[in-house]
Amino acid sequence: MISEAPTLETMQLPSSARIPVLELEDVSKTYGTNPPVPALQGVSFSVAASELVAVVGPSGSGKSTLLYLMGTLERPTSGRVWLTGLDVAEMEDRELATVRATRIGFVFQQFFLAEHSSLLDNVADGLLYAGVSANDRREQAADALAAVGLGERVKSRPPQLSGGERQRVAIARALVGAPAIVLADEPTGNLDSATGEQIMALIEELNGKGATIVVVTHERTTADRCPRRIQLLDGQVISDTVA
């Protein structure tokens, strides 16, 4: 039962009984062998459904490594990672890909949009590998674009958009198909501060509608907008505070 995607009923449980969407237990990651470079050491925390969490730390603190571990793009050297109750360590590459396709949404600093495709196709591609039919993909993509305020521009192409609008498209692509968790890597990093504010406001709004979002950032101002902040330094969690 644990592994099932959140339903209306599970979403309505009191917060204390919520299932953790993401759980890390004593996770370490070391790159290379000669000499080994530790990127993360003994990181443990869990993220419950509908939480908005900021992972904040200076460059080199292990933020990106943590994001990749949470997103199953990398496996920990030691420790365990559960995603919606699934033990990532026990899964094969194909299974991890399916987990990413159906349960995780990524937002990147560089947006990574296909310039020659329409916004609708860009967002629909978020479900390309999830086994959803083409028509359903487009329908859900239109809804997701509407949710980020670009419902009128489904036929535009990325080069016609401003940076903030592009990041909205990327967020719509991460949200389409309602994944269990959205991982945002420096979502405001390529934007001016005013536009960054708007993107954070959008993230808050989407979180308010029930989306579970982890924002990885080095900017304090961005982190301060999140109710929960996990601070990283030299690969270790130095604080985990809830506002």
Binding site: G71, E74, L86, R94, V99, A101, I104, L128
Partner: protein, 404 residues
């Protein structure tokens, strides 16, 4: 607690769309790298198509002229001297049941000159032959200009020119009073009036460089004894082999070994088959071009993988498996090669059709040519795309995402 997490397969339209991303976004580059394969396939299709068309043209020509013509010529005696066909030979052949037509020529020792002022050595290699009256029809040719010999002109100093003979003598039309000089030399001989020029005789090319006169005239003016040297026999088509087997004995019962019997259409058919042998050189050139095209595709795909690392990283983060990334790049290489192959087949077919039209052949594109061309393109795409596809799939997603 583990649920079924089998990765869903991409549907064919999705795969086609994903595989064409690189081609749609880098059109010039895709076009140029497909060009090598297009040229190779075009060369192969055109060579096979042209050879098949020319073969078909020749066979159609043979078919039109008929395969039932047999030629009887005087062979050699046991002592190596030129044998003579008996005077009675034409009459004997006429009695063979399935024979429908029988015509013959008798050679003379005369030369043909445009006029008396031509040096004696300039014979142009032309032969002067006495010919029976239905010869042109029997060998499957007709008159290009003027008319053939008839019972009246056969007795008079009148000549008809073979197609090549007319060319060599510089005569391209017939006008009243036109004449040529027939004799051993320009000093000893006489004028013969021209009455016609024949079209080329494909089945009897020896007629082409001959000057033909009637037998009565040849006997009277050129000292011919009336022995036939070449007899043309038409028979009922399905009896041709049977007629061929009895001809020698019929013509010269005493010495059938001194008679040569041949079927000119069989020689031509063999020549049509032998034509294919020349094609191997051109096919080899086409293959080299295909190889160069393959290297081009492999190169462009490898560059594509390097350039598109972020796309690969994004697709992995969207849930693509290694296999799906591999399939995408492999499909892209195949699509690229197939595109080149299709253009190549089209170019090969068009050039074949145009050339065949100019030559008045029926254009024939053998299935092996176009199907083989496309199959070769697919094979090349798959081979050339394999290494880049494996590289793309092996790329770690985090590495791919970092390199921006």
């Amino acid at each position: 607690m583990q649920t079924e997490l089998a990765a869903p397969r991409l549907s064919f339209p999705d795969l086609a769309r994903v595989a064409s991303v690189g081609l749609r976004t880098r059109r010039v580059r895709a076009g140029l790298s497909a060009l090598g394969i297009a040229i190779g396939v075009a060369a192969i299709v055109a060579v096979l198509g042209l050879s098949a068309s020319s073969q078909a043209g020749l066979l159609a020509e043979i078919d039109r002229l008929g395969t039932n013509l047999l030629t009887v010529t005087n062979g050699q005696t046991l002592f190596g001297q030129t044998a003579e066909l008996p005077l009675a030979a034409p009459g004997m052949i006429r009695r063979v049941g399935p024979v429908t037509q029988m015509q013959y020529t008798g050679s003379t020792s005369m030369n043909a000159y445009r006029s008396q002022l031509i040096p004696a050595v300039n014979t142009n290699g032309l032969s002067v032959q006495a010919a029976s009256l239905g010869l042109s029809r029997a060998v499957g040719t007709s008159l290009a200009h003027g008319r053939y010999l008839n019972p009246a002109t056969a007795k008079e100093p009148v000549a008809v020119l073979g197609a090549q003979a007319a060319g060599l003598l510089g005569i391209d039309r017939i006008y009243p009073g036109e004449r040529i000089w027939l004799g051993r030399t320009p000093k000893a001989g006489m004028w013969f009036y021209l009455t016609g020029i024949l079209k080329p005789a494909v089945l009897a090319p020896e007629i082409d460089d001959s000057v033909l006169v009637g037998f009565p005239a040849a006997r009277r003016y050129l000292g011919v004894d009336g022995h036939p040297t070449e007899i043309y026999v038409r028979s009922i088509t399905n009896q041709t082999a049977a007629v061929q087997s009895v001809l020698a004995a019929t013509v010269n019962p005493e010495a059938p070994n001194e008679v040569d019997v041949s079927q000119p259409s069989a020689t031509l058919t063999a020549r049509a088959d032998a034509q294919g042998a020349l094609n191997s050189l051109f096919l080899g050139l086409g293959a080299v071009s295909l190889l160069v095209g393959a290297v081009g595709v492999a190169n462009i795909m490898l560059i594509g993988v390097l350039e598109r690392r972020s796309e690969i990283g994004l697709r992995r983060s969207l849930g693509a498996t290694k296999g799906q990334i591999r399939t995408q790049f492999l499909a892209e290489a195949i699509l690229l090669a197939l595109l080149g192959g299709a253009v190549g087949v089209a170019a090969g077919v068009i050039s074949t059709v145009v050339y065949a039209h100019l030559k008045h052949w029926t254009a024939v594109i053998p299935a092996t040519a176009w199907a083989g061309g496309l199959a070769a393109a697919i094979f090349i795409g798959a081979t050339a795309g394999l290494l880049p596809a494996i590289r793309a799939a092996r790329l770690s997603p985090t590495e791919a995402l970092r390199t921006v």
